[in-house]
Symmetry: C2
Subunit: 235 residues, 2 copies
């Protein structure tokens, strides 16, 4: 095994608390009191998959996730009964960058640092390069390279997202372990010939999470967190 | 200014000594005594620009630099009067990766580390992603991301190499300073709207170097090395 590629949102960083924190600041500034910031974070994230599906289906050319996030922000506000027009658009632009400022789970930096001593470590995320770069620089994530959907112009779980990333690393997919807290991501990676590591993140979606609470296939590794994965990889 | 992008071969790493060292090892193993390893390094490097010119001119689709280096290795041996067929092809494959194992100039790591505290730092090199990643991991180059020709499928000085890199960073070219020891690289970057920093590397081509000994335009910065550049950037 030569490389470990990591899903990022949910697997390495806690998007829900980070987004809710910045939503709360905006809502306080504008006196919005009838929408829970966590509900808004969930609504924003709920539009993530359908917005990428348009690109995956070829109904829309590839655009970076920052742009999808910005469109989804206004759509989610409207769906939650808050008129996006009450906010200056520069403030929505600034909130959109909250995805660049997410905090890692407590085990992430130690786990990645240990795995980096044995393998190439890089994100294989649907986030665009600048988003992942800003996130890493702020949080100190020790990636060897910033990879992901934008470099191969394909969103996971499109096979090209996995196969194109393997080509950029000049590796056979079997030399790569895909690390994710999401069974569907690992299923797609396995179909492409990658090895797979499931990391338990039972609070990614908050206290009521009812998805990805357990492995749904016999993944090559199942880990409680990234330090546990490092230990299993002998790192 | 938001980002500093660095030419790599010659500006950050000393390709000539690194290549000659590994050529010497191969030649010793096979009893080749009539070709100076430094002359072979120079001959190999001399085919670099013409091989990329085929891609830039559209006469050949984009291929990663590792492949051009591999072809150029055999061509350079032949030109120097050494039959490449005397070496097992696996040994030439291994030598080809010498470009992944180049040492940084003595000031490079300190200079990059200081500049990284103020700006995004990344290579904007014609090297492919895996080459630059291996180089950084071995030498400890503290890049925020691995960028370069392969991500935008255009070799410098094609304007797309500079403009595509700026797009990936979601920056206007004027927010980027291109750092290079080569006047032609900076001239192309300036045409694309980037700021420019010339770093003196008077021994890149050995004791007889007669190119790039001085700035040929009024570059925004002229620096003795990367620590001097860090100081000029207030880093």
């Amino acid at each position: 095994m030569q490389a470990a590629l990591f899903d990022t949102f949910g697997t390495v960083v806690d998007w829900r608390r980070g987004i809710a924190r910045e939503v709360a600041t905006l809502f306080e500034r504008h006196g919005v009191t009838d929408l829970d910031p966590f509900a808004m974070a969930d609504a924003w994230r709920a539009r993530y998959a359908p917005s990428m599906a348009e690109v995956r289906a070829g109904r829309r050319p590839f655009v970076p996730l920052d742009l999808l996030h910005r469109e989804n922000l206004e759509a989610a506000l409207s769906l939650c009964g808050v008129d996006p027009a009450i906010f200056p658009s520069e403030e929505l632009d600034a909130l959109n960058l909250a995805w660049h400022r997410l905090d890692p789970w407590p085990d992430a930096i130690e786990g990645l640092t240990r795995i980096k001593a044995r393998l190439i470590v890089a994100p294989l995320s649907n986030g665009n390069l600048r988003l992942l770069l800003d996130m890493a620089k702020r949080a100190g994530l020790p990636w060897d390279a910033i990879m992901g959907a934008e470099l191969v112009r394909a969103y996971k779980p499109d096979p090209e997202a996995y196969l194109g990333s393997a080509r950029l690393l000049d590796l056979d997919p079997s030399e790569i372990v895909m690390v994710a807290a999401h069974n569907d991501d690992l299923a797609a990676a396995r179909t492409c010939g990658m090895r797979t590591a499931f990391v338990l993140r039972p609070h990614e979606h908050g206290p009521g999470q009812n998805t990805d609470l357990a492995p749904e296939q016999d993944w090559d590794f199942v880990a409680a967190d990234l330090c546990d994965l490092a230990a299993q990889l002998g790192a």
